[in-house]
């Protein structure tokens, strides 16, 4: 039973070490580049973390109409992990913590900063954990289908500090997508691999790059993107089918699975 399809209307991508999604897929790195985060100013710019700045960067790049702000789904595997390291040092060394730092330590700091910066009172949520990348897509798609209007999906993760003994990548990555519910229609259907989790940071980087490139590429040139696929990490009760229509962007089709 197919339960609905969503269409990617717009996509944006940012990597601290790549100039484009194509560079990620071609393994072409550049020196570290900080996001420009044009939506942030003054104090907000000073106190926000890299992961928040990257979320703001890719959300801002979608140029969403401020008069009609969408519900927003933020997704992150590691959250404000660099802020967590600083807070640990605060009370370990000084028996106190910085109030400004603590205020922006929660996983939904990026969504809060975004809603304040844009004046949007639309609901936001933050999906996290090892399968946040896939669960974020699912949450955003279901929200779009539930509400019948476009939904903003923003995915970002910053490098995990060494002290945590977590993933070792030094690349910060973010991508944002404006998803809309779309009627079922013809076109080439591409099955998405649904395998385990994508908490591996390098895999996640490539998945996001592939998604952004597929959406941007097909929208720009009308090229047949059917050969591309997107891998989503999700536990196996759900099957997602990618549905790519030339010239019309990328669709993700979610269907009920009976394993």
């Amino acid at each position: 039973m197919t339960i609905g399809a969503v269409h990617i209307m717009r996509a944006s991508f940012f990597s601290t070490h790549h100039a484009s999604p194509g560079d990620v897929l071609a393994d072409r790195e550049r020196p570290f580049t900080a996001p420009a985060y044009s939506l942030l100013a003054g104090r907000a710019r000073r106190f926000t973390s890299l992961v928040t700045q990257m979320h703001i960067e890719v959300c801002g790049a979608l140029q969403i109409d401020a008069a009609d702000p969408p519900t927003a789904v933020f997704a992150t595997c590691h959250g404000e992990i660099q802020t967590a390291e600083k807070l640990l040092a605060d009370f370990r060394d000084n028996a106190m913590v910085s109030s400004a730092r603590f205020a922006l330590s929660v996983h939904n700091s990026p969504s809060g900063v975004y809603s304040v910066a844009t004046g949007s009172t639309a609901p936001t949520t933050t999906v996290t954990g090892a399968n946040a990348l896939a669960a974020g897509w699912l949450e955003a798609a279901l929200t779009a289908l539930d509400t019948g209007v476009p939904v903003l999906l923003s995915i970002a993760d910053e490098p995990v500090p060494e002290i945590f003994h977590g993933p070792t990548t030094q690349v910060g990555v973010a991508a944002a997508f404006l998803l809309a519910p779309s009627p079922a229609s013809g076109g080439r259907r591409v099955e998405l691999a649904i395998t385990g989790s994508t908490d591996d940071a390098v895999d996640a980087l490539r998945v996001l790059a592939r998604a952004a490139e597929a959406a941007q590429g097909s929208g720009r040139s009308g090229a047949d993107a059917g050969a591309r696929s997107i891998e989503l990490g999700l536990r196996p009760a759900t099957v997602a089918l990618g549905h790519i229509r030339p010239g019309a962007g990328l669709e993700l089709r979610f269907a009920e699975a009976r394993a």
Binding site: T126, F164, R235
Partner: protein, 396 residues
């Protein structure tokens, strides 16, 4: 106006917090109005006065299965739900039962003890980064419960558990699950206590929500779980309540301070009522977010005054449980379900003298009442607000 949802049957609830580690004890002490807070020094030598809601110890046999404090806090509720989840798995199949978990701090307490050890606190035997994550306990709990459907984790500070509930309802509405175990847990940790103190938000003594002399939050630890199922005759027969509607909105004002008029709170309460197909007049009780800070209670009161054109009875359960952060919403919701069952409103402790300037009808003693629908609020950092209408079950 959004179309009303069909509703979702609540077939099981579980709570654990400073009041107790089983439903019976928690409910008995909550409705008796037993003050269960401890001095902050019972947890750590903080260089300031504060009270805390500390979870009583689990039986040693249960604790052996909990590698972290977060796991122990979660397990205290999860163990109570095993029969209900087993029935749901038998009814629908394990792959049709999902697990959606919420927390604000996840395994941060475990990380603190490993990476910022202190002689006052037990040393960690082993540290893995996976134990830090919000979903650190999810795989083990889902396995323990025999749940093999979709697993998700959410974290939106103090509204976390209601955002998880919204996600769970969507999984059922879109046919991706027939039942969902929705849970939340937050353990005490130094980051939280130092952090709220740094913002001037912790009370030196026990919290007094909506009281004239209120001066801040009492932080607590706890877990709250519910099982929601697709409403069909079989689940209606077992239902103890139903989720009638849920709403969410953002303040778009400030990261830690509420909008003065409670804008996001107004919007999410109205949306929850719309989705329940109800008017404010049909709500018999509001279970407030009620943290006990000057600004938070004033903003919530302003929002309630705009939504309700009468002084609706209001209770603030954080006076009993402390502020359990990501678990706050579901904690209040489970107590609301028990209110519906008992037809009683638990007292808001220490609210007297009530702050008359807020214009709220604060229930300050155990009060019998005819209760059909309760609206529960959960508001958090980032201006993240959510409200839920929980109602008496529909019978087949």
């Amino acid at each position: 106006m959004t179309a009303a949802h069909a509703g979702h049957a609540i077939t099981g609830v579980a709570l654990a917090n400073c009041l107790g580690v089983d439903n019976g004890t928690v409910f008995e002490r909550a409705f008796a109005g037993v003050d269960s807070f401890s001095p902050g020094s019972a947890y750590f030598d903080f260089p300031f006065e504060t009270a805390l809601g500390i979870l009583p110890s689990l039986p040693p046999a249960e604790l052996d299965a909990a590698p972290t404090r977060l796991a122990a806090v979660a397990l205290a509720s999860v163990r109570q739900l095993r029969p209900t989840v087993r029935a749901a798995v038998d009814r629908w199949g394990g792959d049709r039962v999902a697990y959606v978990f919420a927390s604000s701090t996840g395994g941060l307490e475990h990380t603190e003890r490993a990476l910022a050890p202190h002689p006052r606190l037990p040393a960690t035997a082993a540290y893995r980064y996976a134990d830090h994550s919000i979903d650190a306990t999810s795989a083990a709990i889902a396995h323990d419960l025999g749940v093999t459907g979709i697993t998700m984790a959410l974290s939106t500070a103090c509204s976390s558990s209601f955002k998880a509930l919204a996600s769970a309802m969507r999984l059922i509405d879109r046919g991706l699950a027939d039942a969902v175990v929705v849970g939340s847990a937050d353990s005490l940790c130094r980051t939280t206590v130092f952090g709220f103190h740094s913002l001037g938000l912790t009370a030196p003594t026990a919290t007094q929500p909506f009281g004239r002399d209120r001066c801040g939050i009492t932080l607590g630890e706890g877990s709250a779980y519910i099982v929601i199922e697709r409403e069909v005759d079989a689940t209606r027969r077992h239902a103890i309540a139903r989720v009638a509607g849920i709403g969410a909105a953002s303040d778009a004002f400030h990261h830690t301070s509420p909008h003065p008029e409670g804008l996001g709170g107004q919007l999410c309460m109205r949306q929850a009522l719309d989705r329940a197909g109800m008017t404010p007049n049909e709500i018999d009780l509001v279970s407030a977010h009620g943290t006990g800070t000057k600004l938070n209670d004033a903003a919530e009161a302003a929002a309630l005054a705009r939504v309700f054109e009468r002084r609706v009875p209001l209770t603030a359960t954080k006076s009993l449980t402390g502020h359990t952060l990501g678990s706050a919403g579901l904690t209040s919701l489970v107590l609301a379900v028990e209110s519906l069952r008992r037809q009683e409103i638990p007292a808001t402790l220490r609210a007297t003298p009530v702050d008359d300037a807020l214009g709220m009808a604060v229930v300050d003693k155990l009060t019998p009442a005819r209760l059909q629908h309760v609206l529960v609020n959960a508001f958090g950092f980032g201006g993240s607000n959510a409200s839920v209408v929980v109602s008496q079950p529909r019978r087949p």
